[in-house]
């Protein structure tokens, strides 16, 4: 565990990292980014906490079973969105034309409209959830591993 100054700063900074990560996920269909990138940004926050505190402390709040459920949920939401179009084809974009994310973006340069992309933004969120859970589990497992402990089963 590092000094109190580092820990307090980390506690404050994590909020900004979270917001930035969520922003990257939410604007995945408009700007560079998306589920994986935003998720990786959030996990970098987890790594910061891992350095500031230590693996054993963090393990108390991030349980492996919880992460595993979260990861599966993300993957299942993604698959469910893909299955939503099964009446026509798998991955068919069912939300096009509806008010939820259904706007058709103008062709060419435009200022960007968040309500576009159909199921793509929702899939970004699903991937984001999965990546946050999966990568945090990886990072945490490795930190515990190198400090000589195992994850609980």
């Amino acid at each position: 565990m590092l000094s109190k100054i580092v820990r307090t700063t980390a506690n404050q900074l994590i909020v900004f990292i979270l917001i930035f990560g969520l922003y990257v996920i939410a604007h995945g269909q408009l700007t560079p980014g998306g589920g994986f990138q935003g998720g990786a940004v959030i996990v970098s926050g987890v790594v910061m906490l891992l350095v500031a505190f230590n693996a054993k402390e963090l393990k108390k709040s991030l349980r492996e079973s919880g992460l595993s459920i979260m990861e599966s949920t993300g993957a299942l939401i993604f698959a469910a969105l893909a299955f939503a179009g099964i009446a026509t084809t798998f991955f068919y974009n069912v939300l096009v034309g509806t008010p939820i994310f259904g706007h058709v973006p103008p062709t060419g340069a435009n200022p960007g409209d968040v309500w576009t992309g159909g199921v793509v933004p929702l899939m970004n969120w699903a991937v984001g959830i999965k990546v946050v859970a999966g990568l945090s589990a990886v990072v945490l497992a490795m930190a515990l591993f190198s400090s000589g402990e195992e994850m609980e089963e």
Partner: protein, 117 residues
């Protein structure tokens, strides 16, 4: 097709992949082996991104884009997927190396090979 002048990115990619092959074949330290694979992945990714580059191109995103040509989006999507995959592969390999180290107390591939024959 106009690629980038002087083909520098391709030369760099070939160099990276060549060095990576050398490392993978000749280095005995398992961590260095993993580094070699990471380098190889970077080389291939660089190759893919360089493929899609057009001189003076913008990022292939329509939000607030200035006028002009765009670079190809498909190789970038490929690169992204490949990065995600190499993250998983590298994490798995590192975990295994930690376990191997615990069992044998060594990172030398010659010493840890007990299954000859």
């Amino acid at each position: 097709m106009d690629y980038m002048p002087l083909n520098f990115p391709f030369l760099a990619a070939a160099l990276l992949i060549g060095i990576a092959f050398f490392i993978i074949i000749f280095k005995r330290n398992l961590i260095k082996l993993i580094m070699g694979i990471a380098m190889m992945a970077s080389g291939v990714n660089l190759f893919l991104v360089a493929l899609g580059y057009r001189v003076g191109g913008n990022a292939p995103i329509y939000t607030n884009v200035p006028p002009g040509p765009m670079v190809l989006p498909v190789p970038q999507a490929l690169t992204l997927t490949s990065i995600v995959i190499s993250v998983a592969v590298l994490a798995l390999m590192l975990t295994m190396v930690i376990r191997i180290y615990r069992h044998t107390g060594s990172l030398d591939s010659e010493k840890s090979r007990r299954m000859k024959g």
